[in-house]
């Protein structure tokens, strides 16, 4: 479904990604893990067109989207749930969700998706008239994911969803992500919580200083020396 081939990205002239290669197949949950500053977020932003690679290419369902505009990439079904959530604070919960449905065609369709998101996150339904900025961190993350689901993603990319959440909520969040996978969503997850991410992932990639240095099945990676040493402190 998604093929990222040797992309290289510069941020204001400074190399941020040297060579990132990865692949996500239909129905998979793929985790990309690595230390802070390894370039995980940059890789997702390159896929969604927010930053432009200087070389390499990105194919989505066979279509070259390497230098396409963000709005068009999103309309193809590549949805990016940004780091630190970026919800629209002054707007209500429901307005935030409806913005996710900006690209939808019919009113009925929008209602259907809204109900789906409310079933998944009943808390959002309870608070649908509240301003986004009044929600707690965990609720804001639900809103950010819910808003992403409203776009009807073919590929859902989650950027550090556990960042800043209490440990209890982190566990809950990873349950939700597994649930989304069971519902059939294809997910590319970027995380610093290496263990939890690899536990639920089908496959994983390890990013180090802007390069994908290792890949494999989630469980295998967890057992590998490189992960044990670098991330789990074993």
């Amino acid at each position: 479904m998604l093929r990222v081939d040797k992309i290289k990205v510069h941020y204001e002239g400074i190399p941020a990604l040297h060579e990132v290669t990865l692949e996500v197949n239909q129905g998979e949950l793929v985790a990309m893990v690595g230390a802070n500053g390894a370039g995980k977020s940059t890789a997702l932003k390159a896929i969604v067109g927010a930053v432009s690679p200087v070389s390499g290419n990105i194919l989505f369902n066979g279509k070259d989207i390497t230098r396409e505009e963000t709005a068009k990439i999103v309309r193809l079904g590549v949805v990016y749930v940004p780091e630190s959530r970026r919800i629209f604070g002054p707007l209500t919960v429901e307005e935030n969700l409806l913005l996710g449905a900006f690209t939808a065609d019919s009113e009925e369709e929008v209602r259907g998706h809204l109900n789906h998101v409310y079933r998944l996150f009943p808390r959002l339904k309870e608070r649908f008239r509240q301003k986004g900025e009044t929600l707690s961190g965990g609720e804001q993350q639900m809103l950010a994911i819910g808003r992403g689901l409203m776009i009807r993603p073919k590929l859902l990319m989650l950027d550090e969803p556990s960042l800043g959440l209490m440990p209890k909520l982190v566990t809950e969040l990873f349950k939700t992500i597994s649930l989304l996978k069971e519902e059939g969503y294809t997910i590319l997850l970027v995380e610093q919580n290496v263990r939890e991410a690899l536990e639920i992932a089908d496959r994983g990639y390890i990013l180090q200083t802007g390069r994908t240095i290792h890949s494999g099945k989630g469980a295998e990676l967890l057992e590998s020396d490189i992960v044990k040493k670098a991330f789990l402190g074993l």
Partner: protein, 285 residues
């Protein structure tokens, strides 16, 4: 007593026009944090459209309103696509000079086409008519203009707060990067803000032409009044622009009654007071 009521009525009527003029400036600032120095020149274009259509066709200046709004919309969108879009990436100073240059360009283009002569709209059902309500006399054109301004303001407000397009516009103004991730064409939203800004201010210009002289340099004064209005109401606040416009109209008319030469100075005195005591404006966040 009669004088006081008369002044207040005039102040409010004039103020409603100021509100509509300030609306676009506030909207454009709210969506992309850029100050449009050419705002008054967009208004000037609306004034000339009312003047031309009523003098040479001759069409009643009232019928020129949709043409003025349409021309203002186009002017706004074209300015955005050809100029503003490119300077948004530049530093703040480049943006300032960019719209300042646009102001000079439009002003001297008008100077070339129309000469610096002062013109006025002489014919029209409302021109020169007064309405008497009891012991208050008011210009029919001012009452009508104020009414149209309220309607136009309400229409834009409804569009921004009650429609899907308006929701996308608000999202863009809050966080344009996040708006992009929603699949919103944020450049299109910027262009829309410029279009609405141009349309509303040109419409205000065509209304103003009923009772205000038309010259190529008329814009600057109104740009400055609009700046004060937007700062008073709070940058980016639509409701603030409306209320501040009315306040400014009242200040100008009432103070002008006593010291006519200082009526614009009074606007700025109030503006300075607001800047000192409440820098974010009455309704700013």
């Amino acid at each position: 007593m009669e004088l006081a009521v008369q002044l207040i009525v005039y102040g409010i009527l004039m103020g409603l026009v100021f509100s509509l003029i300030a609306l676009g400036l506030s909207l454009i600032f709210g969506v992309m944090n850029i100050v449009n120095f050419a705002h008054g020149e967009f208004m000037m274009v609306g004034m000339y459209i009312a003047y031309l259509l009523s003098t040479f066709l001759p069409l009643d200046p009232l019928l020129s309103l949709p043409f003025a709004a349409g021309a203002g919309y186009l002017l706004g969108v074209v300015s955005y696509r050809l100029l503003i879009h490119h300077i948004l990436r530049g530093p703040m100073v480049a943006q300032l000079f960019g719209t300042f240059g646009l102001m000079l360009f439009l002003r001297y283009l008008a100077m070339y086409i129309f000469t610096p002569d002062v013109r006025s709209v002489k014919q029209g059902i409302l021109v020169g008519k007064t309405l008497s309500m009891g012991w208050i006399n008011v210009d029919a054109s001012k009452v009508f203009s104020a009414g149209v301004c309220v309607l136009a303001f309400a229409a834009v407000y409804w569009m921004i707060y009650r429609t899907k397009l308006g929701r996308a516009l608000r999202a863009t103004s809050i966080d344009s990067e996040a708006a992009k991730y929603m699949g919103i064409d944020t450049k299109g939203m910027n262009a829309l803000a410029w279009g609405i800004g141009g349309a509303t201010v040109a419409l205000a210009g065509a209304l103003l032409a009923h009772f205000y002289y038309v010259t190529p340099t008329v814009g600057m004064l109104f740009t400055l009044i609009a700046f004060a209005t937007v700062a008073l109401g709070g940058f980016g606040s639509i409701v603030g622009a409306f209320i501040a416009g009315v306040l400014i109209g009242l200040i100008m008319v009432v103070s002008g009654q006593f010291v006519s030469e200082l009526k614009f100075s009074f606007i700025y005195i109030v503006y300075f007071l607001v800047v000192v005591f409440r820098p974010r404006g009455l309704f700013g966040w």
